[in-house]
């Protein structure tokens, strides 16, 4: 073939694998295969949403019982600024994934790689902030889930506040008695979400490799599109986590 590939600066292109892609043998046609892959992905995403909805149910059960405690704990343990920064990065990365898919549809290999790289950087930023600025300080201060939790500075803080406002110390401490449950839910939810981000990075690394080998183009971009869908869901879940934990 003598097609001119604009992506390679007008040079006659080497034939890329995607150009020869045909559907797998058990499909009647490529359109069916494409639809099925997307349907499958949506089903998988439904399971992801349901998985996280378990965490959210637990969250609401306890929040309904201890609304004050929840509010206090959120304000004390979590910084909305950090959460907000991470929200922005994730939103940005969702956008760059879309651009990568667009690039695949247009057959622009270098653009695919570029946008995926930005996505990776965003995801990496998210995880670094999470680990370095959220998890690590908490681990140091024993702000850990359940039985591993210790009040530490928090007790001093609460008692000081109680003294300043003339509240009985026991009453004040009782008001924060479910801190460890709040933190349990915070840890398990965000850690599970973090694992999903990590999986996303691994998947996108694979996508980058495949893109580099020329597997994605207008005839074959379903894998990229599905990974993008996955990434949007990870993003949307975070959009729920952020207000529920950081802004209550």
């Amino acid at each position: 073939m003598t097609a001119i590939n604009p992506d390679t600066g007008g040079q006659p292109a080497k034939r890329e694998p995607w150009e020869d892609y045909t559907h797998q043998h058990h499909w009647r046609n490529g359109a069916d295969e494409f639809d099925a892959a997307k349907l499958g992905m949506w089903l998988f995403l439904a399971t992801e949403v349901l998985l996280f909805s378990g965490f959210f149910c637990a969250y609401f059960v306890f929040r309904m019982q201890f609304p004050e405690n929840w509010h206090e704990a959120s304000r004390y343990y979590l910084s909305w600024e950090i959460g907000f920064a991470n929200t922005c990065v994730l939103l940005l990365s969702s956008f760059t994934v879309v651009l990568a898919i667009r690039a695949a549809q247009l057959g622009k290999k270098s653009h695919i790689l570029f946008w995926l790289l930005i996505t990776q950087l965003c995801a990496g930023f998210f995880l670094v902030v999470k680990l370095g600025w959220e998890y690590w300080p908490k681990i140091v201060k024993d702000e850990l889930p359940g039985a591993n939790f210790a009040y530490g500075e928090r007790a001093a803080h609460v008692l000081e506040h109680a003294a300043a406002n003339g509240i009985d110390q026991a009453v004040a401490m009782n008001e924060v008695a479910r801190d460890h449950i709040f933190l349990s839910l915070y840890w398990v939810t965000t850690a599970t979400h973090g694992v999903h981000v990590l999986v996303g990075m691994i998947v996108f690394a694979w996508c980058m490799y495949r893109a580099w080998r020329g597997h994605y183009g207008p005839k074959n971009y379903i894998m990229l599109e599905n990974c993008g869908l996955y990434w949007h869901i990870v993003d949307i879940i975070w959009i729920f986590v952020f207000p529920l934990y950081y802004l209550v």
Binding site: Q24, H25, H26, W27, R28, D32, D35, A36, A37, L39, G40, L43, F44, A46, T47, E48, L50, L51, F52, S53, G54, F55, C57, A58, V61, F62, L144, P145, G146, A147, N148, A177, R178, H180, I181, S184, L185, W187, V188, T192
Partner: protein, 567 residues
């Protein structure tokens, strides 16, 4: 010869290549056969635990005046008390039977083999995912096996907290992780089936041209995909509780143990319909074929499967009538009755199908009737449990144990064994011995009813479940039940022997021994690698018995409606 006209079972050139062609196969039939082997192994394992249970319950434990202890069968020492051995046995029995056996049983084996064929497709939508889910199943199974060997688990299959999150015995974490992994296998199979049904029907096959087994698998898959993640999160929580003491379900840490029960049953009630719907599906297939009769109320059966799937998500609270508040209980009780209605419709339709039919008496049909008998009993004992005042008495007694064995063993497992006979000639290309098949069925039927009907009386008389020993009043009923379980086991071993014999030396099966009309009977026995040499076309409905002569049968073997021998 190209792979288009070679049986999928045909060995490759060398032994290694043959083995290779199995362990890396993406052929849905081979994967189905591998699943079949795996789930039958799990059934055997669960059954061994069951027989151990029944033997221990032969007599209550008694310390005589001279200090000797009688009635203890399962006391194998090893740092565990005699009760502990029993508690492990019923936990492992329940866990293995539910997670390793019955949930994958029909869908992953028979479903895998026949769903694509019945749709006229070459394979499922995602063949690699299909193989992957088998390996995930095996991997999860290995976790469970490790847990069993490393001390076992004694929490009950329901893993209620705080007991499960605090007990120091055995390897609860490994078992829970095993069940978590098995859940993924189940989700992948479900996704695969849904996509297959949507996208791989042969051209011209509308939704209402699908066999009812396909409908049932479709409804099952929806539940699998939507309910299993919640089980996943529940099990993860237990792992977190045990590893990091997160305390969400542990009252000692301010958590809520009843919340766990809600989470658990939100999955596990829909799961009971994951177990039974495929059973309903194969019964619909078998009854139509062996009665040579169009199914009565095809649409009602198809829609009732979907209705059951939908309502099943709303009734989980009926397992918690003794732990929840009256308001919640009232709602769940009412909704539970709602889910019984579509089931009732199916039973009526099946029986109506037999009207004016031409009923063959063979092993599959005997199993259909055994199923109708036992499942109806199991189903009919659901309403007393759903009735609030009555369940307060019956909850966690042997009445419940009898109820769920009647629906699971008497329903799903009987349907499964019947369907194995029904499709055996197609899967392996060999006939089984009809006499021993019917013998086995009789033994299973008698043994099963003796074992479990007795337990209804035990239950109403107040025998609680999960009891390693009991007060003497219950001895005679327990002994009857134990005798029944031995007859039942004997029957199952007769089947096992019959199947092995068929594989070794069974006569070659004809393509369509029962006169079936669905696509699998068009295929060779056993089918070729891509199921059909040529894509089949749909020329009649799946159940047009009596108006269409079944393919590949001898003339006159399956006469049409109102045909009589010309005298």
């Amino acid at each position: 010869m190209s792979h288009h006209d070679v049986s999928y079972l045909a060995p490759k050139e060398t032994g290694w290549k043959t083995i290779w062609s199995w362990i890396f196969t993406v052929d849905h039939k081979k994967i189905g056969v591998m699943y079949l082997a795996a789930v039958l192994l799990a059934f055997l394992l669960g059954g061994i635990f069951a027989i151990a249970l029944r033997l221990e319950l032969w007599e209550p434990v008694k310390t005589l005046a001279d200090g000797t202890v009688t009635g203890q069968v399962l006391d194998l020492g090893a740092g565990a008390t005699a009760n502990n051995w029993y508690n492990r046995a019923f936990t492992l029995h329940g866990t293995v039977m539910v997670f390793l056996f019955i949930i994958p049983s029909i869908p992953a084996s028979l479903g895998n083999i026949f769903l694509p064929i019945m749709l006229g497709a070459k394979d499922v939508a995602f063949p690699k995912l299909n193989l992957f889910s088998w390996y995930v199943y095996v991997f999860g199974g290995l976790f469970a096996l490790y847990a069993i060997l490393a001390g076992g688990v004694e929490t009950g299959w329901t893993f209620y907290t705080p007991y499960s999150s605090t007990t120091e015995w055995g390897s609860v974490t490994a078992m829970v992780l095993g069940a978590f992994i098995l859940g993924f296998s189940s989700i992948f199979t479900g996704m695969n089936f849904i996509a297959t049904v949507h996208k791989l029907r042969t051209p011209g096959m509308g939704w209402f041209d699908m066999p009812l087994f396909v409908w049932a698998l479709y409804a099952t898959s929806i539940i699998q995909v939507l309910a299993t993640p919640v089980l996943g999160i529940t099990l993860l929580f237990i792992v977190f509780e045990r590893m990091f003491q997160v305390g969400v379900f542990d009252p000692a840490l301010g958590g809520d143990p009843v919340l766990f029960q809600h989470f658990f049953w939100f999955y596990s009630h829909p799961a009971v319909y994951i177990m039974i719907l495929p059973g309903f599906g194969v019964i619909s297939e078998m009854i139509a074929v062996h009665c040579q009769k169009k199914l009565f109320g095809y649409k009602a059966i198809a829609f009732s499967s979907i209705a059951i799937a939908a309502i099943s998500f709303l009734v989980w609270g009926h397992h918690m009538f003794t732990s929840e508040t009256p308001a919640a209980n009232a709602i769940f009780s009412a909704l539970t009755f709602l889910v019984a209605i579509p089931t009732a419709i199916k039973v009526f339709n099946w029986i109506a199908t037999m009207y004016k039919a031409s009923i063959a008496i063979n092993t599959p049909m005997l199993y259909v009737m055994a199923f109708l008998f036992c499942f109806t009993i199991g189903g009919l004992t659901g309403p007393p449990l759903a009735t609030l005042a009555v369940d307060i008495h019956l909850h966690d007694t042997y009445f419940v144990v009898a109820h769920f064995h009647y629906v699971m063993m008497g329903g799903t497992v009987l349907a499964f064994i019947g369907a194995l006979h029904h499709w055996w000639p197609k899967i392996f290309g060999k006939m089984y011995n009809e006499f021993w098949g019917m013998m086995g069925c009789t033994l299973v039927f008698v043994g099963f009813n003796v074992t479990f009907f007795t337990q209804f009386f035990l239950g109403t008389q107040g025998m609680p479940r999960r009891y390693a020993t009991y007060i003497e009043e219950f001895t005679s009923l327990h002994q009857i039940s134990t005798i029944g379980s031995l007859i039942l086991a004997l029957g199952l071993f007769v089947h096992l022997g019959n199947f092995i014999l068929s594989l070794v030396s069974g006569p070659k099966a004809p393509r369509n021994p029962w006169g079936g009309l669905t696509f699998e009977w068009e295929a060779d026995a056993p089918p070729v690698e891509h199921n059909f040499p040529k894509e089949p076309v749909i020329v009649h409905g799946p159940y047009d018995y009596g108006t269409v002569t079944p393919p590949h049968t001898n003339p006159g073997e399956f006469p049409l409606n109102d045909e009589r021998p010309s005298a």
